[in-house]
Every structure is written in structure tokens, then in C-alpha cells.
């Protein structure tokens, strides 16, 4: 041993401890955690002191008090006499309503445009890419404000409403759509639809089992789809096939009948759909491009039919790439729906905003809507992790 080395063991134990890897790691962690804890404690104590000084109530007792403000549209029963808790619940349902509709429309349109951008036809590709580049490079808030202004100022009054399709009316009071007239049959048709889906699922299970046992092929997909539609159709026939429509029509100064989508809802839905569509189209496009050409060629050379190649080879591989970013986009759409506050659609954030202006309980109101969004996000990402684990390629 050289003298230099022997010196090293003589160093002061404190210094030695400072160079110890585990000790340093623990020290860093204690420092960081202590810093964060002290900061949090400082902020909380300041907040408590400020709230006390300004005589702002704390706690969630305000949820029981009368809200005393009107909400322009609501899926559940609500009057200004209802309490704040119910008002916030209206906000949540309105957020979910616009998000769910937007997700469905954006998925359909996005898939369509995504496929357009991988087409062999140059013009089709041009339209798809042009759409994507235009709408994704303009802030969503600007689009929402623009569509709201167009509906509010650009469209004619209800008496000269535009009618792009029969029984569909577009005016500055919103969009009026026809619906089927009330009839007990319709709820049974809905139940029939669910029964059909369960039936198709059981059919698939049975046919796969039989395939493994006997090797006989049963066309479970086409028969399954037929079952899904046939069951509600039969239910509809059983109830005497009601066809009465509840169509909107002009009576006096207003539209009667049908369902009305308010200008706020229409603008929000339009903006969110057109914006999110661009992202979904990109997701679909990259999913399709991720499956290499060799896969198609190999499957075709095995003699598989085109529909089988798609269903058994291409789609399962493309979906593995598509679904995680797709759920991300759904989450983004839900989060972007909070911009409703800028155009006056009564979503969760905008009702929380009113609540906090009336009660002064900003901390609780912000905490409530952050918790709602956070729980939606975390439950979806939990589901995503589960899905990814299930779908992950099992490599040897």
C-alpha cells in the first residue's frame, strides 16, 4: 500500500461520512423533502391566517347552501333554489356531456382524415394534411371564440333559420335537431341493443372455443354485428314500429319541438371536435404507418382474405400503437372543454367560477374541480397502464 492510500483511512470520520454514497443519498432526500414540507407548511399557514383575517369561511359547508343563480342548460333537474353541491353536479354532467359527444365525433372524423392522409390519391392527401396543418396551428380558445361569434352574430334569427337538412334548423339561438317522439318502445330498444352486444360477445366466445376444439370456423364477426342490430330491430317491430318524429317547427317567435343545442354548446362542440380531430388524425396516421408493408404482403402470401389480413394482422398491430395516444387525446379534449368558461357554457369550471365569486371560497372551489379532473385523468391513465401491460409484446 502506498502512503497516499494509508492516509485516506486516517481522514476524519465526519468527512468520510460525507463521501459515503448511501449517506449522501439520504441527506439529499431529507433536504429536498424537508424543503418541500416547509414550503407547504408555510403556504398553508399563510392561507389560514389570510382566510381568518378576511373573514372567509372554510370547509365545504357552502355546498349545502342555496346557489341562487340560474344555469342555462342542465341534464339533471336544477333550479336557482338548489344548493351549490347540485350546481357543481350540473357542471360535471355538462362537462361529461360535451366531452363524450366531442370524443365520439372527433374519433369518427379523425379516423377518416387520418386514413385520407395515407391515401395514394394526392388530392385526398392534400385535403387531409391541409386540414390538419390549419386547425392544429390555431389556438383552441381562438377557435371557440370564433365559432361562438359566428353563431351569435353571423347566423340569422330564429324566424329566418337556415335549414341545411330537412327538419334541422340553425339560427343564432342554436341548433335544432329532430328526435323520435316519446314512446315506451325506445327505452326497450335501448335495452335490446345492450342485450344484442352481450349476445354477440357470448357468440364470439363460443365460436373461438369451438374453433380451438374442432377447427371449424364460424363467422362470429358478421353474425355478431347482425345480432347487435337485429335484437333492437325486433323489439322495435314488436312494439308496432313507431315512426312518429318530434321535429322542430317555428311557432310564434320561437322553435318548438325537437332538441335544441344551445349556441354555447354548439360552438364548444364544434371547436373541440375540429381541434382534437387533427391530433386524432395524426395518431391514426402514425398507427397505420407503423405496421410495415411486409406484414400485409406476408399475410396475403399465406392466402388470407383482405378482410382477414386487416382484422387479424394489421389492426391488432396498429391499435397497439394507436390506443395509448388516442386516450391521451380524449383526456386533452376533456381538459380543453374547461375553456367553456370563455364562451359561457355552464361546465364544471365555469360553475365553480361563479361559485367562487359568490361565496369567496376560492380554495375549496378550485380544489373541487381540480380533484374532479385529476380523478378522471388518473383513472384513465391507470386503465391505460393496465391495457399496455396486457397488450405488450411478449418477447422471448
Amino acid at each position: 500500500m502506498s502512503p497516499k492510500h494509508s492516509n485516506k483511512s486516517d481522514v476524519h470520520p465526519v468527512i468520510k461520512l460525507l463521501y459515503d454514497k448511501t449517506f449522501r443519498s439520504i441527506m439529499y432526500q431529507v433536504l429536498v423533502f424537508g424543503g418541500v414540507f416547509l414550503l407547504g407548511w408555510y403556504l398553508v399557514s399563510n392561507t389560514m391566517a389570510n382566510l381568518e383575517r378576511q373573514n372567509i369561511a372554510t370547509g365545504f359547508g357552502f355546498l349545502e347552501r342555496e346557489a341562487a343563480f340560474g344555469i342555462s342548460e342542465s341534464l339533471i333537474h336544477y333550479t336557482p333554489e338548489s344548493n351549490y353541491g347540485r350546481a357543481l353536479l350540473v357542471g360535471i354532467t355538462n362537462t361529461l356531456k360535451v366531452s363524450a359527444t366531442g370524443v365520439i365525433l372527433a374519433t369518427i372524423l379523425g379516423t377518416f382524415i387520418g386514413i385520407m392522409t395515407v391515401s395514394k390519391n394526392w388530392l385526398l392527401r392534400f385535403i387531409g394534411l391541409g386540414y390538419i396543418e390549419t386547425f392544429r396551428n390555431i389556438p383552441i380558445l381562438l377557435q371557440l371564440i370564433f365559432w361562438y361569434a359566428v353563431i351569435n352574430r353571423g347566423l340569422p334569427g330564429v324566424r329566418d333559420a337556415l335549414s341545411p337538412l330537412p327538419n334541422v334548423f340553425l339560427s343564432n339561438r342554436g341548433l335544432y335537431l329532430p328526435v323520435m317522439a316519446d314512446h315506451p318502445a325506445w327505452s326497450w330498444v335501448g335495452i335490446g341493443f345492450i342485450v344484442g352486444i352481450i349476445g354477440a360477445f357470448l357468440l364470439r366466445k363460443w365460436s373461438l372455443k369451438r374453433l380451438e376444439a374442432t377447427g371449424q370456423i364460424f363467422p362470429h364477426l358478421s353474425v355478431g354485428i347482425a345480432v347487435i342490430f337485429a335484437v333492437p330491430f325486433l323489439v322495435w317491430l314488436l312494439f308496432g314500429a313507431p315512426t312518429a318524429m318530434n321535429a322542430p317547427s317555428l311557432q310564434g317567435f320561437n322553435m318548438r319541438g325537437g332538441i335544441r343545442m344551445t349556441p354555447e354548446f354548439t360552438a364548444l362542440l364544434l371547436g373541440l371536435t375540429l381541434y382534437t380531430t387533427t391530433y386524432i388524425a395524426e395518431v391514426v396516421r402514425s398507427g397505420i404507418l407503423s405496421v410495415s408493408r411486409g406484414q400485409t404482403e406476408a399475410a396475403t402470401s399465406l392466402g388470407l382474405r383482405y378482410s382477414w389480413v386487416m382484422r387479424l394482422i394489421i389492426l391488432p398491430q396498429a391499435l397497439r400503437v394507436i390506443i395509448p395516444p388516442m386516450t391521451n387525446q380524449y383526456l386533452n379534449l376533456t381538459k380543453n372543454s374547461s375553456l367553456a368558461v370563455a364562451i359561457g357554457y355552464p361546465d364544471l369550471v365555469s360553475i365553480s367560477n361563479t361559485t367562487m365569486n359568490q361565496t369567496g371560497q376560492a380554495v375549496e372551489a378550485v380544489a373541487i374541480f381540480m380533484t374532479v379532473y385529476l380523478s378522471i385523468s388518473l383513472s384513465i391513465s391507470y386503465f391505460m397502464n393496465w391495457y399496455n401491460k396486457r397488450m405488450a409484446l411478449v418477447e422471448r
Binding site: I127, K335, M370, S381
Partner: protein, 363 residues
């Protein structure tokens, strides 16, 4: 089919002949394809034609509102009448040169930073000096400049300040968060994970509400922080959470052999990260990083909801002015074009950078 006909194509065939052949192979190869092409041409003709006739052919380019009485197209006199307001917002008109210099410095700085020859260790120093200079040019109070409170900053100036400062501070914060999330120290990791997941799980608007409504309650009595600064910090932490996940993705993609090799050379943690891992990881994630920056740029428009006077708010005020009220479409289309130009330019730059760095590193 396409490739065969291209291969058989005589070299000396004329341009018209070649374009005919291209059209036959790409647009009119089958009856269905022909039908699709015709529908596409019809749509493009209507949309592009409609836009051109609205924005150019039938439009009025004469300053002043009276020129627009007779026309059916756009009234670009709006831009002439309002551009100063859109650029500088409510800044005192006598001092308009100051936000102008600030815009020039910020865009100029961005353009210079895009050039890779300036990527040295001095760049951050120059930027910090630049930010201090921009702040004093806008806020005044030194060298005889009249003080202008931040509440009067507005228009494109404010949008650019929020975006550029946001990008400059979100990136380093995101790097720290990403390193923390990859750290082997459990407590540091937990703090970073909670921070990232919370900010990624809520909408930006709630972070801005927190900054504008709740934050004053967090501070001791008598201490107040400017609302612009609060919104800026909100934007920075929100986007840093997203960016941290992008950076983490890059670090995860680096094979563990790289980490092990660095360890076996006896490099310290910071040497290993700074010289081996990060240069490779960050290069991998240029496209998603740039799209986070583009989101940040677009999301600065949300500050209008908490009452700051950015480009969108200025437009809203301009088109609600009774004089220009009928021309709201021109107003929104004009700023849509401004946002589009910035975002499109950024996305093209990201493609260029990605390609040129790949070329530089491939042997």
C-alpha cells in the same frame, strides 16, 4: 404499378406528357379513384376559391371603414386601423417604440438561437441578460424611461413575452423534474412524480385560476406578486410537467449499456448525465419537445380568461368596438394567421433540426 410505368418512361418525354402520366397513375388509376379525385377537386375549388375571393378578389384594401360599405369580401382596413393596438395593446401610445424593440429582441433572439452555431454555454447567459433588458425596456423606471406597469402590457408583445420566457424557463425545470423522476432516491422520485402527474392531470385554466385567485392567499399579508408573473409561473410549471415526461421518454430510450459504460468509466452522476445520456436523449425527443413548445405558444392565449390583455384579448376588444363590430371575422382570421405563422414555422424548424442532427451524427 406506378413504379413500373415510371421506370418505362422515356427520359426525354416532355413535362406535359410526364404530368399527364403522373395524373393518370395517381389520380385517375381506377374509376373509384377518378370519382374521389373529382370530388376532391370540387371541394378544393370551393374552399380555396371561396377563401381567395373573400380575402383577395372581393376584399377592400383601402384604409378606413367607409371603403367597405359596398364590398362583399373582407375589409382589410381593419388591420390598418388596429394593427398598433394588436401589437402593443394598451401600452401608452407615446412609448410604442419600447414594445416594438421588445418584440424585435424576442423574435431576433429566437431566430439566432435556432442557429446551431450559437449553441454554446454562453447562450443561457445572453438570454438572461436579454430578458432583464426586455423587462426594463417594457417596465421602464431606468435611464429616464417612464415607468409602465405590467397591467398595461398587451397584444402580441405580451403573447411573445409569455411564450419566450415560458419556453426558456420550462425547459430547465422539466429537465430537473425528469432527472428527479428517474432518480434512485425514493423521496425525490415521489415528489417529482406527484408534481408531474398533478399538473398533467388538470387543465391549464385551473392552474391559471390558482395563480390568479388562490395564490394571493398563500402569501403573507402585505406581500403581493404581480399577476403577470403569477400567470407566467403557472404556464411554466404546467408545461414543464408535460416536457418532463417527454424528456423522461428520451432518457428511457437510451440503452442501459450507455449508463453502465459511463459508470464503469468512473464518471460522477452529473458527468454521466450531462456528457453521455442527455445529449443522446434530448436529440431523440426533438419533435415532441417542439410540439410541447408549440402548445405552450398556443396556450398563452388562455391568459385572456384571467384578465390579461394578450393578442386574443386585444382582438376581442377591437372587434367589440362598435366601429369594427361587423368585421369580427377579419379580426379573428387575422390573428389566426399570426398564430398559424409562428406555430407552422416552429414545426418546420423542428423537422429541419431533427433531420440535420440525424445527418450530423450518422457515420
Amino acid at each position: 404499378m406506378t413504379t413500373i410505368s415510371e421506370r418505362l418512361m422515356p427520359v426525354q418525354s416532355s413535362v406535359t406528357k410526364r404530368s399527364w402520366r403522373w395524373m393518370r397513375d395517381n389520380l385517375f388509376s381506377t374509376p373509384l379513384n377518378t370519382l374521389i379525385s373529382l370530388v376532391c377537386i370540387y371541394i378544393i375549388w370551393n374552399v380555396v376559391g371561396g377563401l381567395i375571393s373573400w380575402a383577395i378578389v372581393n376584399a377592400s384594401f383601402i384604409p378606413g371603414k367607409d371603403a367597405c360599405a359596398e364590398i362583399t369580401g373582407a375589409c382589410w382596413g381593419y388591420v390598418h386601423a388596429n394593427w398598433r393596438f394588436l401589437m402593443f395593446g394598451t401600452f401608452p401610445p407615446a412609448e410604442y417604440w419600447r414594445p416594438f424593440v421588445a418584440i424585435m429582441m424576442l423574435t431576433g433572439g429566437m431566430l439566432l438561437t435556432m442557429n446551431r452555431t450559437f449553441w454554446t454555454k454562453w447562450l443561457p447567459v445572453v438570454w438572461i441578460i436579454g430578458f432583464i433588458a426586455v423587462y426594463y425596456i417594457l417596465a421602464g423606471g431606468v435611464f429616464g424611461l417612464t415607468p409602465v406597469r405590467t397591467g398595461l402590457w398587451g397584444g402580441l408583445t405580451l403573447t411573445l413575452v409569455l411564450a419566450v420566457v415560458g419556453i426558456a424557463f420550462a425547459a430547465p425545470l422539466a429537465l430537473i423534474l425528469a432527472l428527479g423522476r428517474r432518480s434512485e432516491m425514493p423521496l425525490v422520485k415521489v415528489i417529482c412524480v406527484v408534481f408531474i402527474e398533478v399538473f398533467r392531470g388538470v387543465p391549464l385554466i385551473s392552474v391559471l385560476f390558482m395563480a390568479s385567485v388562490m395564490f394571493p392567499l398563500f402569501l403573507p399579508t402585505g406581500v403581493s406578486v404581480d399577476v403577470l408573473l403569477r400567470a407566467q409561473v403557472g404556464i411554466i410549471v404546467f408545461q414543464a410537467a408535460y416536457l418532463a415526461e417527454v424528456f423522461r421518454g428520451g432518457m428511457q430510450a437510451i440503452p442501459s449499456g450507455q449508463y453502465e459504460a459511463a459508470d464503469s468509466l468512473g464518471l460522477t452522476y452529473w458527468q454521466k448525465m450531462g456528457k453521455i445520456i442527455l445529449p443522446q436523449a434530448l436529440r431523440l425527443v426533438i419533435p415532441p419537445t417542439m410540439s410541447t413548445f408549440i402548445s405552450l405558444f398556443k396556450d398563452t392565449s388562455l391568459v385572456v380568461i384571467i384578465g390579461l390583455f394578450d393578442l386574443l384579448a386585444a382582438t376581442r376588444a377591437a372587434v367589440n368596438n362598435p366601429e369594427w363590430r361587423p368585421h369580427y371575422i377579419e379580426g379573428y382570421v387575422f390573428i389566426a394567421l399570426i398564430y398559424f405563422c409562428f406555430c407552422f414555422f416552429m414545426s418546420r424548424y423542428s423537422l429541419y433540426l431533427d433531420r440535420s442532427l440525424k445527418k450530423a451524427t450518422s457515420h
